[in-house]
């Protein structure tokens, strides 16, 4: 049902955990489908650009919810905020070598959580 890549990120999630005193955090979820995600970011300004220096996630959810959380953090890490904001649900799914159609909403959740964390950062600035 899942690709090898999904299973790899599910079994060995990258950037899992919490950042104390994050510069931004975003939580999204849907109790009906049973998934909830939280993303924390640390932002660093370098050469007039704001970069995601560190990023972590916590997720309650199915295999693809965990894998997409892990993947989105990996894609966002080291990117500037503009680039990070543009990561799409298809980017996440493609990097994971595809998701079953019924699970595409999970990659939406992951990118939404990231966008929310970035928004939170801007709102606190």
């Amino acid at each position: 049902m899942y690709s090898k890549k999904v299973m790899d990120h599910f079994t060995n999630p990258r950037n899992m955990g919490e950042i104390k005193n994050p510069d931004g955090e975003g939580e999204v979820g849907n109790p009906v489908c049973g998934d909830l995600m939280k993303i924390y970011i640390k932002v660093e300004s370098k050469d007039k650009q704001e970069m995601i220096k560190d990023i972590k996630f916590q997720t309650l959810g199915c295999g693809s919810a965990i894998a997409t959380s892990s993947m989105v953090t990996e894609l966002a890490k080291g990117k500037n905020l503009k680039e990070a904001q543009e990561i799409s649900r298809d980017d996440v799914a493609n990097e994971l070598e595809g998701l079953p159609p019924a699970k595409m909403h999970c990659s939406n959740l992951a990118t939404d959580a990231l966008k929310k964390a970035i928004k939170d950062y801007y709102s606190k600035k």
Binding site: M16, Q58, L60, A102
Partner: protein
Amino acid sequence: MSKSSKKVYLDYAATTPVDKEVMEAMLPFFCINYGNASSLHSFGQKSKEVVESSRTVIAKGLNMENREIIFTSGATESNNLTIKGIFNALSRHPNFSTKKLHFITSKIEHPCILDSMKYLEKTFKDLVEVTYLDVDEEGLVDLKDLERVIQKNTVLVSIMFVNNEIGTTEPIKKIGQLIKTIKNQRFKSHNKYPLYFHSDATQAPSYYKLDTKDLNLDLITINAHKIYGPKGVGVLGVKKNTIIEETSHGGGHEFKKRSGTLNVPGIVGLGKAFELAEKQRKENVKKVRQLQDYFINKIKSQIKDVGLNGSTKHRTPNNINFSFEGTEGESVLLMLDQEGIAVSTGSACSSNSLEPSHVLLAIGKTHLQAHSSIRFTLGKFSTKKQLDYTVDKLKSIIEKLRKISKGVKF
């Protein structure tokens, strides 16, 4: 997907391995005695003979007559035939065309019952109405509720024997007595509407005696693949004088109730599997019940924040259904699978619907609790050692997933 060489199968409610004895009984009917049971020559007559001996075994076990046993392709078909067959026959019957036909079932039935009922409601709005009974937090149908909703035009009550997700055993005998009383009242008051009682007993034969006379059942569904027989074969027991029409038209097989060439090896397998279920029931119940107690206690003592779903008292011996707070069922299932352990989840997130199990919602669980549930079902080949291994792995999997979900809250 499994990285482990160990294999532990704890999904006996989904399907069971075929018993070697069953397989051996079936084998001659593929390449040696392959005749069509309707053929008049010796090939056909040999097939007919073995079909009839299977019929006798099952009829005896269900305390019915041979001609009341209809072989089908499985429980889904038997349940569809019950609902649509009774509807087809009664809705066109001159005596019963003045009022809508009323059907009653419960909210925790298998989708093949619920969706057949919904199909009738949707397609024949003017001819039929359906009541879906609530269940309590253990999954039990309440007799008073049932009595309250039975009307003069109620023609079918269909309540499952054992729930496939949470293992709750419904009070079938008491319901049967109630139905019998109402039938007698109808007779006295010249209400000609029949009232049929059907039970989907698919999950029951390994653990419960299914005497349809004792239980006052008019119709009963069973299949082979849940009782160590082959997939794709089942039975609908139909008491004579039940007004029901075939839904699959053709050669008029099975007393004109189900057309189609008989699945001879399957029927032989079903007969053997049922015979073994009867013979081994006492021993099976004892063995599996002990394992169930052991497993439930071990999970409760080794893993924090767990909840057993269903009933403690009214529970089939082979079902264990737990919610593990802070985890989602599919994740637990996938990680157990990597350790070679096969279980099932109440979460439907893997299918097209994102809604969790209708059964867990019906017993009052939240969406979150329902999504965190795992069903373990045991069988006659389960061992204590397998359960020890499972709890061992389960414990670290739940810890790992709780670490990943730590910090998020709904």
